[in-house]
Every structure is written in structure tokens, then in C-alpha cells.
């Protein structure tokens, strides 16, 4: 019975395209309440449009269920779903005029009607009458403010007008759910802002569930009841706009939503966190010495005279943004972006501080690159589909390698470690990436990047394995880079007991 509260529910949905190796959507779980305005937000290629297409029925999930009012519809073709879509580029029918475009769904639709036949009442499926279609189309065009446009050709309409026709064409069918795939992407900024408000108003009036896809974080914050932040096929966070902004779940979300300063920090006693080489007071409860990511929003940074704040710095640049100035302040090697209505000259020494409530601490996804690997015949370690040079002697204290390649312990016992399973750890700043793709045996693509004051944190993907890399140089998302790790930076730990490898 609990299901009936939700109009649509996605359960463990995964999607892989026929010829691809990777899943574009992974483990997607979402429950949407009737009448909710839900936004899928993420950079291009994050899987948001694919998820929308699965709800519409254009793609079928590889695994998982899509429940509409508790009934699985994941195998149902699009024309049998009570769901309509507003397409990114409108997808209006160019050979029809405005009226025929909007009436398209109604003309096809059949409704059950009770008729008397030989004294018996039977249910017959009949098309809607012309009058009813006309009424409904007029009403839909009224909602989108296009009353006088019925007979106009599609080609004669402006982008904004076409957008409205596309919305009218969808809502005229009175769908349970309206899907909108970046519907405002092709409009200019001013028009987009107006349409945002109009859509929001339309949502309120119609009471239909809206599922909206966008890469524009501001649009998502303005319009949604619930935002689903996606990256790399995974849901990163689900929450209300304010919650997502104020309490981002991880560094990616913090970086993607709004402007932010993100730093690697460490928890110290007495509710303090060490960032920018200084201890900042905070309110969150975190275990001592834990490595964390810390978000400071530019508008939360208080600029004061040198010595008055928590840490001193120098203004490096200043941009006028209308309501405020945006400064980049150098604190040691770290950049801090701050906003202030005060006008201060570049090169001025200042001090910055942040009230404890505005310091948001996030658990780190990973503090080290960890892999499962095994030792090869020639004492290399195989992980991430490559045999890496490594120092096998670290497995046993005081050991060495003899000329036959066996590990010799301090007690002169010999071990053959071939195929021994090991746990491999590599520190984030010990993975090196470079543009010399040709010279590197291992390459990967940059999937995600987050700026952390004085360095970037990259997520580099090689086939199926990820490297988290801290590096001070700038690459872009999508770049192919070569990956190298120094022999001494690969830390090995034997999984079983060493005795079983004794000769």
C-alpha cells in the first residue's frame, strides 16, 4: 500500500547500450510523489537524459524496474504510457500547423464509451469528437499564451513560441507525468528566466508531476521541489534545493552547485578543522584525525583587516559582479574565492574568517586509491589491468629477492609469491598523470575534476578502474592522460598468510 503514495518509482535501474562496455546509468533508485517537481541535474553525459528516456519508454533499462503507481512499466512501449515529453529541440511536426501539432495526441486517443447495443450495454473505444478536441486544444494553447496561433505554420514561429507549442502538445493529453528534457536550452537568457517562472506556475496550476532534466544548476535551484544530482551514471545526492546547496553530499556536488571553495582538511580536537594551514572552528561532529573535504561558499567568507580574522591573505584579483565584488584571495598557496560588497584594491592584505555554521564538512569518498591485485611471475603487481613495477620485499620485513626471483625472509626461508593476492594502496598525490599518452602503458580519461584551492582532484578512468589523482596542473574533463606510479609508491599488503607461499 505504501507504493500508492508514489506516482513513479525507479528501482535499481541500470542501463547499458548494446555496443558499450560501461553502464551509462548505475543503480538508480528514486521515488517521486504525485505532483512533485523533480529535476535531474548533472553535466552532459551523466546519464540524466538516458534516465528520462527510460521513463518515457524510448529506452528500456538493462536491469531494474520502473513502477508507475506500483506497476512495472519498464517494458511498455512509449505510446502505452500516460507520460508525455517536451523534447530538447521541441520535435514539433513541421508539416502540421500549430493546431494539428497540439491535437495530434488527442486525434489518436480512444476513450471508452458505453453504448446500448441490442438492449445490452457494451463498452466501445471511440475517438474524441472534433468539438472536444477543439476545446481541449484551445484550452492548452490558452495555458501557454498562444490563443491566436492555431493556424500558423511551425516554421513561422520563434524559438520561444515553438517551445510553448511543444509544452501545449504534451499537456493537452493530461499526462500523469510530464517529462522535460532541457526544454529551455535553446532559448536566450532573458527568455529562459521568464519561461522558468512560467513553467513553475504551470506546474502549480496543472498539478501534474514534472520530471525536468537540466545541466543548469541555477535553473534546478529555482524550479525544483527535489533535485537529483547525477554524475557519471550515479546519483550523487537527492534533496531539496536548499539542502543540496547548504549540505552537499560530496565535493562533486559542492563544486557543481553554485560557486564554492573546496579544500582537503583534517579534523582536530574541540570541533576544529584544519584547512589553509589554520584551525577553523566548526559545528559538525566528525571522528578525530579524519581526512575530510571542506566547502566554503564565497558569500560566507568574511573579509576583515589583517590580523582580525582566522587567516591572512592577499587579494589577487577583483571582478565587479553587479551586486557585489568577487575576489580571489591568496592564502599561502591556496586560492580563496570570496564575495563582498566592499570595494578593496588588488594586492591589499586582508584577513578572512568563516562562522562555524557556514563551514560544511563532507566525508571523503576515498582517501587512498585501493585495488585488489596479485603478484606476477616476475615480481610485479597486477591491478587495473596492468603489471606494475613494485617492491615486493615490503610484504615481509627484512626480506630480499634472490637471483631466481624468490622472496627470501630474514630467517632465510624462501617464498614463491606468484599469483599471491594482495591489497594495493596508492596515495592520491602519488598517482602521476601526463600528456605523454604515447609513452605511458596505462592511459585513462578524466571523468570528474574538483578544484581544491591549490590543486585539482581528478577522477581518471581506465577501462573499468578508476584512479583518484591530486595534481596541481590543469586538465579538462574528457582529456586522455597517461598514468604512471613510481615503484616505491605502490603499497602492498598480502591478503593471506605468507606461510602458504613458502617453498
Amino acid at each position: 500500500m505504501e507504493q500508492q503514495d508514489y506516482i513513479i518509482e525507479l528501482r535499481n535501474v541500470r542501463k547499458k547500450f548494446d555496443d558499450a562496455d560501461d553502464y551509462v546509468v548505475e543503480n538508480f533508485n528514486l521515488k517521486v510523489k504525485k505532483g512533485e517537481f523533480v529535476t535531474f541535474l548533472g553535466p552532459s553525459g551523466c546519464g540524466k537524459t538516458t534516465t528520462l528516456r527510460m521513463i518515457a519508454g524510448f529506452d528500456t533499462p538493462t536491469e531494474g524496474e520502473i513502477l508507475l503507481k506500483g506497476v512495472d512499466i519498464s517494458k511498455l512501449p512509449p505510446y502505452k504510457r500516460p507520460i508525455n515529453t517536451v523534447f530538447q529541440k521541441y520535435a514539433l511536426f513541421p508539416t502540421m500547423n500549430v493546431f494539428d501539432n497540439v491535437a495530434f495526441g488527442l486525434k489518436i486517443k480512444k476513450v471508452p464509451v458505453k453504448v446500448k447495443k441490442n438492449g445490452q450495454e457494451v463498452v466501445k473505444m471511440v475517438h474524441l469528437t472534433k468539438d472536444i478536441i477543439k476545446q481541449k486544444v484551445q484550452k492548452a494553447l490558452e495555458i501557454v499564451d498562444l490563443e491566436q496561433f492555431e493556424t500558423r505554420d511551425i516554421q513561422t514561429l520563434s524559438g520561444g513560441q515553438q517551445q510553448r507549442v511543444a509544452i501545449a502538445r504534451a499537456i493537452v493529453n493530461e499526462p500523469e507525468i510530464l517529462l522535460l528534457d532541457e526544454p529551455l536550452g535553446a532559448l536566450d537568457l532573458k527568455m529562459r528566466k521568464e519561461m522558468q517562472l512560467e513553467l513553475k506556475e504551470m506546474h502549480r496550476k496543472l498539478g501534474i508531476t514534472f520530471i525536468y532534466v537540466t545541466h543548469d544548476q541555477e535553473e534546478a535551484l529555482t524550479m525544483s521541489d527535489t533535485i537529483v544530482v547525477m554524475s557519471d551514471g550515479f546519483i550523487q545526492q537527492i534533496g531539496e534545493p536548499k539542502q543540496i546547496y547548504d549540505e552537499p553530499a560530496n565535493a562533486f556536488v559542492a563544486d557543481f552547485i553554485g560557486e564554492s571553495n573546496i579544500y582537503s582538511g583534517t579534523i582536530f580536537p574541540d570541533h576544529k578543522v584544519k584547512i589553509l594551514n589554520k584551525l577553523f572552528p566548526m559545528v559538525d561532529d566528525f571522528p578525530l584525525h579524519e581526512k575530510v573535504d571542506v566547502v566554503l561558499r564565497p558569500e560566507d567568507i568574511i573579509i576583515s583587516k589583517p590580523g582580525e580574522g582566522t587567516v591572512d591573505g592577499v587579494i589577487k584579483s577583483k571582478i565587479f559582479k553587479g551586486i557585489h565584488y568577487q575576489y580571489v584571495i591568496m592564502v599561502g598557496k591556496n586560492e580563496v574565492t570570496a564575495q563582498s560588497t566592499l570595494s578593496l584594491p588588488v594586492d591589499e592584505k586582508v584577513s578572512i574568517s568563516v562562522t562555524p555554521e557556514n563551514i560544511h564538512i563532507m566525508k571523503r569518498d576515498a582517501t587512498v586509491n585501493a585495488y585488489d591485485g596479485y603478484i606476477t611471475k616476475n615480481n610485479k603487481v597486477c591491478f587495473a589491468e596492468y603489471d606494475w613495477e613494485c617492491d615486493v620485499t615490503q610484504i615481509l620485513k627484512g626480506s630480499s629477492i634472490d637471483e631466481d626471483g624468490y622472496l627470501v625472509g630474514p630467517d632465510h626461508k624462501k617464498y614463491d609469491l606468484t599469483d599471491a593476492e594482495v591489497k594495493v594502496d596508492v596515495d592520491l598525490n602519488k598517482v602521476m598523470i601526463s600528456d605523454n599518452v604515447d609513452e605511458c602503458e596505462v592511459t585513462g580519461q578524466i571523468i570528474q575534476m574538483v578544484y581544491k584551492g591549490d590543486h585539482y582532484q581528478y577522477l581518471v578512468r581506465n577501462e573499468n578502474d578508476d584512479f583518484i589523482v591530486e595534481n596541481e596542473w590543469t586538465w579538462n574533463e574528457g582529456d586522455i592522460v597517461g598514468v604512471t606510479i613510481n615503484k616505491e609508491d605502490i603499497k602492498l599488503k598480502l591478503k593471506g598468510d605468507i606461510k602458504q607461499y613458502e617453498l
Binding site: 555496443d19 518515457a56 512509449p78 505510446y79 520535435a91 508539416t95 486517443k109 513561422t156 504534451a170
Partner: protein, 267 residues
């Protein structure tokens, strides 16, 4: 200025040379002399003779019949082929597109000979049926090539939009997709029609010996006699129909663009 005049003169001169033979035929279709160049006074006699020449009329009928039958078959096969290849996987599509380019650049004589050899090998006797096959083979690639760009120009989402609005795949194909690519289908049909109408080589190789089209009929006559003067009248007719088709097409295109422009400006 001089350059401009020279350039224009050159263009008009070339056009004049191109249309001179046709113009001559048209002028001399209104006189009943046996050869072009001798003016026997103005008369419509040749036009009357044209319709009295039973053999020629049969040939005209045959030509039109074969042209329409093969163009219809070609249009159906070519359009379905274009839609099918458009929705195929990339590799399949590339192969199909490569194969369809071949008949366009291939020498017609090769096609005619190989088809003739094939039919003989299969034990078919030459008939209207083999002729249709020949003409379809000749023209189907052109239909494919004129429908393909229309599919590529089409917004790929409109088919999905139709499904989304409740149309079954069949309804979506008829109501949304076909109207969209109709201009390509029509031009493919017209192209097939004209290719088939003035085809000689394939027709000559694949037809039943007693079956004549305009071109094979004239060829047969020419072997023993001079060209019958009625043919001048026939040529004039065909040319006028072609001119009419071009004018109608251009006028409707002009009206359409004017309508859209005026609506865009005038709101």
C-alpha cells in the same frame, strides 16, 4: 562593366547552343516537310499524323506504362530501403550506402548486359516483367539517394514524439515520418520516371522483341528509313510537358517561401 557584359554574353551563348536543336525541332514541327531545314508552310499536320501513327502511339503508351510501373516499384523499394538503412547500425548503414552508390556511377551497358545474362541463365524469357526489373534496378538507387538527405534533415526526435503522444509505430510512420520525407519521395519518383522514360540501353537488352518504347521504336525505324516527321511533333510535346513541370514546381516553391517570409515578418 565590359567584363560583366562578356560574362553574360557567354552564358547566353551557351544556353542558345544548348536549346538550338530543340528549338529547331519545335519550329519544324509546324511544317510537313520530310527533313528539318525545308519549310513547306505552316501546318498542324504533323500533330494529326502523330496520333494516326498507331505504332508510334503504342510505343508512347508502352514508354509511359513502363515508366510509371517501374517508378512506383522503385519509389516503394527505395524509400523503404532508405528508412531501413537510416535506422540501421552505423556499419550496416555504411555498407548499404556504398552499394547504392554503385549503380549511379556504373556504366548502364554493364548493368544491361549483366541483367540480360542473368535472366538467360535463370531461364527467363524477356518480357514486360524483365523490363520492369531492369528499370527498377536502374532507378532505385536514385530514389534512395533523394530520400536519404530528407531523413537526415528530419529531426530524429519527431518519430519519438509521435510515439510519445500515443501513436503506434505504424501511425507514426504514416502520419509523421512520411509527410516529412515526402518531398524526397516525390523527387525520387520524378527522377525514376524521367530516367525510365528516356532509357534506351537497358530497354533494348531486356525487352520482349515485339515490345517497343519510343526510343527503341525510333531506333528500329532509323535502321531502314529516315526519322518519321511526326517524331518532331512528339518531341515538342515531351519538351512542353517538361517545361510545364519545371514552371509548376518553381512557382509553388516560390509561393511557399513567400508565404513563410510574410508570416515571419507580419506576425
Amino acid at each position: 562593366m565590359v567584363k560583366k557584359i562578356l560574362a553574360k554574353t557567354y552564358v547566353y551563348f551557351i544556353l542558345f547552343l544548348m536549346y538550338l536543336p530543340i528549338f529547331l525541332l519545335i519550329v519544324f514541327s509546324f511544317t510537313d516537310s520530310d527533313s528539318v531545314g525545308v519549310w513547306n508552310g505552316f501546318t498542324f499536320k504533323l500533330y494529326g499524323d502523330l496520333f494516326k501513327n498507331k505504332e508510334l502511339m503504342t510505343a508512347v503508351g508502352n514508354t509511359i506504362l513502363i515508366a510509371f510501373v517501374s517508378a512506383i516499384v522503385s519509389t516503394i523499394i527505395g524509400t523503404l530501403g532508405a528508412i531501413g538503412s537510416y535506422y540501421s547500425k552505423k556499419r550496416t548503414r555504411k555498407v548499404i550506402e556504398g552499394i547504392t552508390q554503385l549503380p549511379v556511377v556504373n556504366a548502364e551497358i554493364v548493368m544491361a548486359l549483366s541483367l540480360a545474362v542473368l535472366f538467360v541463365a535463370l531461364g527467363f524469357s524477356f518480357s514486360f516483367f524483365t523490363l520492369v526489373i531492369g528499370h527498377v534496378v536502374l532507378t532505385v538507387a536514385f530514389v534512395f539517394l533523394s530520400v536519404k538527405p530528407k531523413l537526415q534533415q528530419m529531426d530524429p526526435n519527431i518519430y519519438e514524439a509521435a510515439l510519445d503522444l500515443g501513436a503506434t509505430p505504424r501511425v507514426a510512420l504514416y502520419k509523421v515520418m512520411l509527410p516529412e520525407i515526402l518531398p524526397g519521395i516525390v523527387s525520387g519518383f520524378m527522377l525514376s520516371l524521367t530516367l525510365s522514360l528516356d532509357d534506351f540501353i537497358i530497354t533494348q537488352y531486356l525487352k520482349d522483341p515485339s515490345f517497343e518504347t519510343i526510343s527503341t521504336y525510333i531506333q528500329k525505324i532509323l535502321a531502314k528509313h529516315p526519322v518519321p516527321p511526326e517524331v518532331r511533333a512528339l518531341t515538342t510535346f515531351i519538351f512542353l510537358i517538361a517545361v510545364l513541370a519545371v514552371v509548376v514546381n518553381n512557382v509553388s516553391a516560390y509561393r511557399h517561401s513567400k508565404k513563410i517570409n510574410s508570416m515571419k515578418e507580419g506576425k
